[in-house]
């Protein structure tokens, strides 16, 4: 791989990472040596001259952030008081809210798709949390919503969740205890 292709691979990985990534993890992920990764990071830094992004590192942990001079625009976008969640994340959140306590496998069986990423995002936002482990084979984590969730949605308690009539006419307003 050339310096540029390594820089591109690093950029893609750092772009999706929601936390700083160490150089050794980068090296492992893209299958390159430590020296090549270092050179790639230097190249990436050069690419970002004059763009809206910056490469930032704390110790050996690297991440992409927005350029400081773009802060007003970023603030203008994020400033509006509304929760920004992708449709997928909102759907996963609704499963946790209405069905807690619920395990990852249960969430996925309800949504029918892999939910690793959205669970991670919701945890990062502190909208859901691990409640503990279920006494079941594999001792899976159970997830539930947080007080930040209640605050974010302006709910006094989980009982205040809007009542939803499921398509077959069953009321499912309250969190249903899972068997």
């Amino acid at each position: 791989m050339t310096r540029s292709t390594i820089a591109a691979a690093i950029e893609a990985v750092l772009f999706v990472a929601e936390k700083p990534v160490s150089r050794s993890e980068l090296a492992k992920t893209i299958g390159a040596g430590a020296k090549a990764v270092s050179e790639g990071l230097v190249e990436l830094e050069e690419w970002y001259q004059g763009t809206g992004l910056r490469l930032q590192h704390e110790g050996d942990d690297w991440q992409i952030v927005t350029a400081p001079e773009q802060a007003p625009f970023v603030a203008a976008y994020l400033g509006a008081d509304r929760l920004r969640l992708s449709g997928a994340a909102l759907e996963t959140l609704s499963v946790v809210a209405y069905r807690q306590p619920v395990t990852r496998v249960e969430i996925e069986s309800i949504r029918g798709v892999n939910c690793d990423q959205t669970i991670y995002t919701l945890m990062q936002r502190r909208l859901i949390e691990e409640l503990g482990r279920r006494e079941a084979p594999g001792s899976p984590f159970e997830y539930g919503t947080t007080w930040e969730f209640l605050e974010c949605f302006g709910l006094t308690s989980l009982d205040a969740l809007p009542t939803v009539l499921s398509p077959d006419g069953v009321r499912s307003g309250e969190p249903v205890p899972t068997e």
Binding site: A12, V74, L83, S86, L90, E91, S94, G112, F149, V164
Partner: protein, 244 residues
């Protein structure tokens, strides 16, 4: 779908439907989709349908529809005087079916192109967003409820819970049944064959079986008046001079 050679006959697992079957016939015989006389494929089509071990009950009507179209086209080409085009638009039956077949062929090619991309795995990824403001603000409970409703709607019938059609009929089996019956008695009505409370699937398999028996010159089918009783009669002797 595996990229290997297609299996010689359509199985329930691999079948994509009646148009797929028809397209496969055209391609197997290396015919030109633009010029092939679709009625000529009626026999082969029925043979293939008959070869299916079982037909999913909810799909038989789709197969029957195409089968009846093909049989009609064939009948008309064999006996133009006996099967006159009843309406002007019936002249277009073949053209219309051909158009559908061409469109389906295009769809298949496009699906293959998308499938190639999917298997190549060259996909993009978005990021879920960086600046985490804690605690987040402005959640809309109604949006959450709407998302839940959507999830519920999509959960209603997860693949595991989908009611597998309990009834599966084999055209071959039904054909044998009717053939045995007609060997014993010279004629039987369609209503009798259907029994008291036929399901749609049972009725259609029965119908396809009759088409097949008719094609093989085992039976004659008569109907004296429109919507009148359909009578199935044992063919007295094979009339070899009839075109195949």
């Amino acid at each position: 779908m595996p990229s290997g050679p297609r299996p010689p006959e359509v199985t329930v697992d691999g079948f994509e439907g009646p148009l797929d079957l028809l397209l496969e016939l055209v391609e197997d015989k290396k015919l030109d989709i633009f010029t092939v006389r679709l009625g000529d494929l009626a026999d082969e089509y029925l043979v293939r349908v008959r070869a299916m071990a079982t037909l999913p009950a909810d799909e038989v009507s789709a197969f029957l529809y195409i089968a009846s179209r093909l049989v009609l086209l064939k009948a008309r080409s064999l006996l133009p005087s006996l099967v006159p085009p009843s309406d002007d638009d019936e002249v277009d039956t073949e053209a219309e079916l051909r158009l559908r077949l061409i469109e389906y062929a295009t769809t298949k090619d496009r699906a293959a192109a998308l499938g190639d991309r999917m298997r190549a795995g060259e996909r993009a990824f978005h990021r879920e967003g960086g600046s985490v403001i804690l605690p987040p603000k402005g959640g809309d409970p109604d949006a959450l409820a709407a998302a839940w409703l959507k999830v519920l709607a999509l959960t209603r019938e997860t693949p595991e819970e989908v009611e597998v059609p309990g009834e599966r009929y084999s055209v071959e089996q039904r054909t044998a049944e009717i053939e045995a019956l007609i060997a014993k008695q010279p004629s039987v009505t369609f209503v009798t064959l259907l029994g008291e409370r036929p399901t749609l699937g049972y009725a259609i398999v029965t119908f396809i079986s009759l088409l097949d028996l008719y094609r093989r010159l085992v039976i004659d089918i008569t109907q004296d008046e429109l919507f009148g009783e359909i009578r199935i009669e044992r063919k007295v002797q094979r009339m070899e001079e009839l075109p195949e």
